[in-house]
Each structure stands twice: as structure tokens, then as C-alpha cells.
């Protein structure tokens, strides 16, 4: 290659590196802005004295997959007592009011809802699944 072409190439390279930096800076700003605007979720604590079915970091990442596998195993194959039961999540992760009334686990600020509002996902599980643990009187 001729030297003139080489210098032109080098110039192009620096230019695009600079441009890339600017673009990255803009992108970063765009990405972090909404995150800064919304408070990170602080889901309420689980039932005291229990441990989750996996470590919290695994749960945060994989709970949706676990639940989807479990629902097919339980409903279609009839496998009971497996660990990733939605009923189980509700048993440990729903809270009660000061008067001891159960709070739906998908209510504003509650365990499942707090994160999902932040992540902008809206699983429909609780259109069917009970949102509080058992012992509630049967519906009229």
C-alpha cells in the first residue's frame, strides 16, 4: 500500500474511534437515565426463618423459567411437591397487614409486583392463581 493511503486510513480510524466514544456516551446516558429516574425495587422480605428454593441471585435470574417448567410438570404429568411451586412462592413471599390480613402478592409494592413494575413485565399468573396463602374462607 502507498504511504498516502495509509495516513488516510489512520485518520479514518481515529475519527471513527472518537465518534464511537461519543455514541457510547450518548447511549450510556440514555440507558441510565430511566434507571436513575425510577427507584430500584425493594421487594418486601420473605417469611422469616425460611430460605428460598435457590440462592437469591439464581432466583432473580431464573425464576420465570423454573415456574414455566414446573407448571407443565405439575399440571400435565401430575408431579407434586416439586420445589418451584407457584403456591410455594405465594406462601413465603406474601405479607400481612398490621392487623394480620393477607396482602395479595401482586399488589402495589408487594413482592412479585415491585420488581415486575420496574422491569415492565406483566405476567398474567395471578388472574387465575390465588395471591394469598390458603386458609381464606371459600368464595361465596
Amino acid at each position: 500500500m502507498r504511504p498516502k493511503a495509509l495516513t488516510r486510513l489512520a485518520l479514518l480510524a481515529t475519527l471513527s474511534r472518537q465518534r464511537a466514544r461519543v455514541i457510547i456516551a450518548i447511549l450510556l446516558a440514555l440507558l441510565t437515565l430511566p434507571a436513575l429516574a425510577a427507584e430500584p425495587p425493594a421487594p418486601p422480605k420473605a417469611k422469616a426463618g425460611t430460605t428460598c428454593i435457590e440462592s437469591p441471585s439464581v432466583m432473580r435470574r431464573d425464576h420465570m423459567e423454573m415456574l414455566k417448567h414446573q407448571r407443565d410438570d405439575t399440571l400435565r404429568l401430575g408431579i407434586r411437591g416439586a420445589k418451584a411451586s407457584l403456591k410455594g412462592c405465594v406462601d413465603c413471599h406474601s405479607t400481612t397487614t398490621a392487623e394480620g390480613r393477607p396482602v395479595p402478592v401482586n399488589a402495589e409494592g408487594q413482592f412479585c409486583q415491585s420488581c415486575h413494575a420496574y422491569a415492565a413485565v406483566k405476567p398474567d399468573c395471578f388472574e387465575c392463581h390465588a395471591t394469598t396463602p390458603a386458609v381464606k374462607e371459600a368464595a361465596r
Partner: protein
């Protein structure tokens, strides 16, 4: 090492026999084709004005209505049939008949209508799209459709708007080795007209009675091989 007693061997093998209609399946074990759960209903013990099974079912399943008998969810209903000759009246509870060849499963476009290995016919509501073909196909009118948003569900029976539902033979109880709610209530508060058990187990009371007494299936002419049998009609 001391010799194991017979009892210890039986316990260790996991084949623990408990008295009761069914064995609670061990956690992690799937429903088995070795079982075929069924009901035997003696209509001679079923009074026309008795709705104990219907109320027990509603309470167990958390079925709330809107006072609209035509569309409210209903897993069991009482029907009356009169012999045109002589006028003898029979009253019988009709629920999902848990057919061995269920037409609802044949017509379902998504695979939501399904038969479990142990013969219990269910709706997998996770993939039900609410098309209601199954309701059309069922000759027993056993299925209901949830037209409204639901509240007050029981944790063991999720149910929601836009999906089809029906008698589950109380899978959540059967899997724990307990009796279906209607059977339990009929025995406790009425005349014990309903018998639940494993039709595949020759030693079970239901299989013995089916083998030795006259029993009928409703609409047997359709050849669907229902798991629910009746006596006295």
C-alpha cells in the same frame, strides 16, 4: 447388622400401604397409567332434593357465581330423568365423566384439553385459548367457561376469565391420597351414594363392585368409556 423386619423392607421399598382409596404419590413421581380413577354413583341413594355434592364442590373449588344459572361455573349438576313408562324419577349428579376416549381432547386445537396418565381429564389453562370447542364436543355438558374476571380463587384451584374449566376429580386431593370433595361430603352429610377408587386395581372396592354388580354409564352408546359409572338407573 440386624435382619430387617418385613415392615422395614416394605417401608424402605416405598410401597407403604395406607388404608384409604388411594396412595399419596411420593413427591416428584408423575401420575401413573397403572391407575384409572373413577366413581361409582348409586342413584338409589341419591335424593332428588339433595345438593350436598354440588355445594361441597363449589366450596372446595372456590366457584363464585353471578346468579346466572346458564353460564355460572358448575363442575357438578343434579339432573332428573323420568322413565316415560311408569314415571319413576331418578336424580343423579353429573360431572365430567373422565372418558378414556374424551372427545374434548380430540377437538382441542392447542392441546389444553388433556387426559392425565391416570385417566383424569383436565384443562391445561395455561394454554387454553377459550375457543370452547371442547364444550361443544362434550356430550355430558360437563364444562363451563369463565366469562368474568375471577376473585377469591382457592390456592389449589387457579381459575380465570377466558378459559374453560370442569371437574378435576379433585386432582389436588387425589394426588395427596384424599377423596374428592363431593364423595367426602356425600358420605358425611348425605347417604354415601358416591364411591371413589382405582378401576384398575382389582382389590379396590370400586373395581370389585364393577366386576360383580350391574353398573351403567350414561350415553354408553357413544363408546367413550367414561370413568364414572352409575347404579340404579
Amino acid at each position: 447388622m440386624t435382619a430387617l423386619s418385613r415392615r422395614q423392607v416394605v417401608l424402605a421399598s416405598g410401597a407403604v400401604l395406607i388404608t384409604g382409596p388411594a396412595l399419596a404419590r411420593s413427591p416428584g413421581a408423575p401420575a401413573s397409567p397403572a391407575n384409572r380413577w373413577g366413581l361409582l354413583i348409586d342413584t338409589r341413594k341419591c335424593a332428588a332434593d339433595c345438593t350436598v355434592c354440588v355445594s361441597a364442590c363449589k366450596a372446595e373449588m372456590g366457584l363464585s357465581g353471578h346468579d346466572r344459572p346458564l353460564t355460572d361455573a358448575q363442575y357438578i349438576r343434579k339432573i332428573e330423568v323420568r322413565d316415560p313408562v311408569g314415571g319413576k324419577l331418578h336424580s343423579l349428579p353429573v360431572m365430567c365423566q373422565h372418558c378414556a376416549k374424551p372427545p374434548c381432547v380430540d377437538v382441542c386445537p392447542t392441546g389444553a384439553s388433556m387426559k392425565r396418565a391416570d385417566g383424569i381429564v383436565l384443562v391445561d389453562r395455561h394454554i387454553c385459548i377459550g375457543c370452547r370447542y371442547c364444550m361443544m364436543a362434550c356430550p355430558y355438558k360437563a364444562r363451563s367457561f369463565a366469562h368474568e374476571e375471577q376473585t377469591g380463587q382457592q390456592p389449589h384451584l387457579p381459575r380465570g376469565k377466558g378459559t374453560v374449566e370442569s371437574c378435576t376429580l379433585c386432582v389436588h386431593r387425589v394426588d395427596e391420597g384424599r377423596l374428592p370433595a363431593c364423595v367426602e361430603a356425600c358420605a358425611a352429610k348425605a347417604k354415601g351414594a358416591m364411591l371413589f377408587g382405582d378401576l384398575n386395581d382389582p382389590a379396590s372396592e370400586i373395581a370389585r363392585r364393577v366386576a360383580s354388580e350391574a353398573t351403567t354409564r350414561i350415553r354408553a352408546d357413544l363408546g367413550l368409556d367414561p370413568g364414572v359409572r352409575y347404579q340404579g338407573i
